[in-house]
Amino acid sequence: MRTLKLTLAEIKKMLLRPSLYIMTFILVLTLATTMFIFEPKNSDDGGKVTIAGMATVGNIYSEFTSLNGLTTSTYYLNMLEAEEDNLNFYRDINNDDSKQLILDLYLSGSTSVSYLFNDYYTNHAAGLNAATLSINNQRLIDALDALRVQFNDEVTQQPLGILINSDQRVGFSEAINSTIYYLTNLKDSSDFSNSAVSNMFNTVITANYLSLDYPYYNNPTVAENAPNIIINAINSIENIKVDVSLLNSLQEDHIQVARTRLDAIMTQMSTLNTEKSASILFADKAEMNELVSQYCATVLTIERIIDNAITLDILKTKTDIVAIQYESFSEYYSYEVQEEYTRYQYLFDNNLMSYNYANPFSFLVSSNNTRNTYDFVYFAVEIASVLIIIYAIALGASTVAGEQSAGTIKLLAMRPYKRWKIMTSKLLAVLWFVILFIAISLICGFIIGNEITQGMVSNPIIMVFNAQTATIVTPIELMAIYAASVFIKIAFYTLIALTMSVILTSNAAAVTISIMFYFVSVGLSMFLQNSNWYKYIPFNNLDFYKYFGGAFIADTTQLTSIFSTPMLHDMTFSTSAITTGATMLIFIIATYTIFAKKDIN
């Protein structure tokens, strides 16, 4: 195709730019210096629990089967029983509406209510004197008293009252009592600023309140209405229901299966113990420890499965935005929970042990328990991609706007190529160099990574696509997916640069605006995290590799997480693909149309 010929000519032109080679140098230098800030923590075992420091195989066995301690089989069996109790609990509350108060210990509090009380004492503290104080106090006291009575009634009258953690119940009652004590003993407004008091308020509120009505915050009549507000809110607490078939499946397909497996493992352990109890050989002890790890991993896997399954079911009718207003779920991302759930389901269904499989995209927590080359490559390329984006923007802008301001576009436009072919050749040429730079980054990453880590040793990786499908992949396959995702992201910003160039003509303006757009979009993506619009904004949807696993390990203390965006608010691979694709299409159409119709001066 003649467009290809034109593209090749554009590439040759770009190869003669000195800036290309300066960029390569800077890129490699940056990649080299990233090794000094690469601090991967070796992960904890991910389920591997071994008993160390025991002299013989028999010692390990008896240690593990003893009744005491946090690494004994009893401990894990108790964990399993607790999960069973959980299932029964939810089965029971499905049938009885009056458990609202108890349930609210799980679904508790809303930040708006703490605003209610904060507002109360903030707005009124200045004008309060002792007399007014006591009147307002009294109302609050009455309300809290009513609350306490109600709570105690509920708790003591129901047989399931014993399910409440006794510490929690005691703490709650104490909180109410202390609050009333403080209220009756406060003499003047300065006492209201005591943060201990506000904490007390918050504890009371936390246990009971569910409200999504933010107008309370600035309502001047809140003081008068406070008691009614509390009581109404308590009455409006939601019912929890968990799907019964899910509960049954968790019981039969998971807990019972797990028990069977645990019995089998225990049998193996006891056989091994019988045969080699006195052995001090490393190999034998390792074999016993492996069985210990399998035992524990099985239970921990079940725990994750049940926990996540129930959470997902409880919140299945709520979008993330709504769910995060519940205090227990203030950092709930359904995608992450679903991803973790799928992962552990896969492990359990295939009877795999989680500690044998690495997590994808988890640099700073390495992907196979010891830091390896792939972790470094991911880390390095993530940083390099910032540089590549900036250079791609500059290259894209200069090849369109630059040629316009330099005037060289005139001679090019007089060649036998329609305008769209000229634009295509420039776009492809820039993208070619993007691919080249990504390749350079990968290669340098591999070379440096090999030098500073334990090399390319890695467990197979469990990749969960779109939180729904789990497969086992090799690290190389994962790196390929990652590279493709980085390419799409960079192509996105390149396209914007081309569109700006075609509109603005000035090289400097196009470059400046496009780069500013990039940095602003990075900032905005953090700023907009609680917005309903988050998932509709194109640049929040660019990190496609996040849909291939690793979402539930997202850790905001990581250095480069500021450049990556979390899976928030009901985002899926399809929504991201459509948003990104549609946006890119719009930019492409705009660029081509404007360039075709333009008068060249």
């Binding site: 010929k5 034109l6 090749l8 000519a9 040759k12 032109k13 003669l16 730019r17 000195p18 330099a406 005037g407 060289t408 005139k410 001679l411 436009a413 007089m414 060649r415 036998p416 190529y417 329609k418 119709k597 008068d599 060249i600 001066n601």
Partner: protein, 325 residues
């Protein structure tokens, strides 16, 4: 003379039309009509000159012809192919420079030429070298374009324009920045291209002397309108027929009346000179006549209407015409 003109007209009729422009119009988004209904044609081997002041619309017209600007109305056909609907086929026959010849500064002249050559099929290295030699840039062609003088850029500009052996060459102010020697070389070079290689050339300029020496046909543009299209010979004839004699005398009024009565020609007065619309050949007669009437003569000049005056008159006539409307 007349016979010669007839013959060359006949020959011109036989040559194919390379560029055909009909009713070409450009209206900008602010409503300004930059080019208003221009029509003309250029045949193979013909050098056509666009003549007009700065801002008359020459560059705008050329940009439309080369596809750089969108055509508001009208048609442009090159070797029969429309620039609007058959752009690639039309433009492949065209080479040229629009305004200043900008090339890639970070590349050498040769690299620039190689780049342009690569956009066509079948341009061999020998052709590139041939073209470099033709424009006289063998010594400096491997230096970066950023270091070239304007004249050198013009030369390489011409080189890239003829590289693919186009049938139509379009040059916007080609002698811009050249020294007198360079201008002469360029003129001879272009004439060779047209008359020996049979290439049609469209040149635009505001330098009348250049156009008069170079072009076969001149089209005058003023305010976007094509005033007149003349073969160069007609213009020259017009100039010839505008000869005047300027005589410095002591009694200009009296002398003037005498000449009007005697020779029946218009006379202008300017201070102490009289200007009579008579050819050179009449000088002896006038001198004798005035002396015989007792007029003292202090100086005699021949005055031919310059090309400049001819054109400015034409333009003034046109502006006056449009003002009346």
């Amino acid at each position: 003379m007349r016979n010669v003109i007839l013959i060359s007209e006949e020959e011109n009729l036989k040559k194919p039309v390379v560029l055909e422009v009909k009713n070409l119009t450009k209206v900008f988004s602010n409503g300004r009509v930059a080019v208003n209904n221009i029509s003309f044609s250029v045949s193979a081997g013909e050098i056509f000159g666009f003549l007009g002041a700065n801002g008359a619309g020459k560059s705008t017209a050329i940009k439309m012809i080369t596809g750089l600007s969108k055509i508001t109305e009208g048609s442009v056909k090159i070797c029969g192919k429309s620039i609007k609907t058959q752009f690639e086929e039309a433009i492949k026959n065209v080479g040229g420079i629009v305004e200043t010849p900008e090339m890639y500064k970070h590349m050498s002249g040769m690299t620039n030429l190689k780049y342009y050559a690569s956009l066509y099929s079948h341009i061999k290295g020998s052709r590139i070298r041939e073209v470099v030699k033709l424009v006289g840039m063998e010594n400096r062609i491997n230096e970066k374009v950023g270091k070239y003088s304007l004249g050198m850029k013009q030369r390489v500009g011409i080189a890239q324009a003829i590289l693919h052996s186009p049938k139509l060459l379009i040059l916007d102010e080609p002698t811009n920045g050249l020294d007198p020697n360079g201008i002469k070389e360029m003129r001879e070079f272009l004439k060779d291209l047209a008359h020996k290689e049979n290439i049609a050339i469209l040149i635009s300029s505001h330098i009348l002397g250049e156009m008069e020496q170079l072009c076969d046909t001149i089209g005058i543009i003023d305010n976007g309108v094509m005033l007149k299209i003349n073969p160069i010979e007609e213009i020259r004839k017009g100039i010839e027929s505008s000869q005047k004699i300027v005589i410095k005398v002591d009694y200009p009024n009296y002398a003037g009346k005498l000449i009007i009565n005697q020779f029946n020609v218009p006379v202008e007065l300017d201070n102490n000179t009289i200007i009579a619309g008579l050819p050179d050949s009449s000088i002896p007669k006038i001198v004798a006549f005035l002396i015989s009437k007792g007029i003292s003569i202090y100086g005699i000049l021949q005055k031919t209407k310059s090309l400049e005056e001819v054109f400015l008159e034409m333009i003034k006539k046109h502006s006056a015409g449009t003002n009346i409307k």
